[in-house]
Subunit: 189 residues, 2 copies
């Protein structure tokens, strides 16, 4: 739980009472590799903080092909925010890539928490703001930067990505075929 | 200004004092067609609410090609949030597609406003949250849905898009060539 509190205090200061109230609202959840936290069609009831492990979200298109939307390592948050907020069925699947330890908070408890600790509203605003900005930049780069440059930047930002995430998921995250990714990787050696 | 207040009160309730404080912080700005509100390399100092007209943001890649990132019609907000928040130089250009009337608020006045009217923090959290969710969905769909389907959905959501936005920008927004967009439009007739 300290890891979660450290993540929150990197953005907002907390008193020990506030820290305690936050800790009470989250529950620990162990998710085995390949198991789903969320299945498309279900309502996303929790936001997850990744304490250990690695999790991905993906969508399945009408031809049955998977597309990786997000990769979340330790100290990152993952959810289908649209479904979580609107209570509409999710279009995303969330699955563990490694055995993972998650800290979950439900919509109901998050609302309680926001009113008990108003700073959490500020924390989530800033968290979502950063996620929004980085998603806009990813969209912008998917239009304007060659995949080889986006691959290089991804590896530099996540040096252990190749050890932890199958190439097929990395290719999908970049929006390219596994064959294109192989070609890019060969050119770099 | 009433239009701006209506946009805000669609998300949070306001007292008349709060409405007045908000109105004081925004300034009206007329932007002629083809003129820039923001140029890449400059720091984005304002968030803009589109009161009349239509505005786009775009990026220019290393080969000099433009890529449309956002289209904002009346009652929508536009900015380079990354630059606005971080005070780093923008990678985006923001330009009027039609003669437009904008309501602008600077970073400094927005901070003042957030402390004078704490509800505004909540308003912007929800606004950004929605923008984030819709950008994630757009990213997801750019991977998983054929351009023809994305074009159809865009037109349904913005029935006067074709009358107001040049086809070259619509193609760019969809991440396809103008030739592909022509083919898609012919198939539909």
């Amino acid at each position: 739980m300290q890891q979660l509190l450290d993540n929150i205090t990197s953005i907002v200061d907390l008193t020990s009472q506030e820290a305690e109230k936050i800790s009470e609202k989250f529950r620990t959840f162990f998710l085995k590799r390949k198991k789903d936290l969320l299945r498309g069609g279900d309502i996303c009831k929790d936001i997850a903080f990744v304490s250990q492990g690695c999790v991905r979200s993906y969508t399945i298109d009408e031809n049955g092909n998977e597309h990786v939307i997000q990769l979340a390592f330790e100290n990152h948050w993952i959810s289908d925010l649209y479904s979580f907020l609107s209570l509409e069925p999710s279009t995303l699947f969330i699955e563990a890539i490694e055995d993972s330890k998650l800290l979950l908070i439900s919509n109901e408890l998050l609302e309680q928490l926001n009113s008990e600790v108003p700073k959490m509203e500020r924390f989530f605003r800033i968290l979502i703001q950063r996620a929004y900005v980085s998603t806009l930049q990813r969209l912008e780069k998917s239009f304007s930067e060659p995949a080889a440059i986006r691959y290089k930047a991804l590896i530099e930002k996540n040096p252990d990505l190749l050890q932890r995430v199958p190439l097929i998921y990395i290719a999908s995250y970049l929006g390219i075929t596994p064959e294109s990714l192989s070609r890019i990787r060969k050119q770099r050696h």
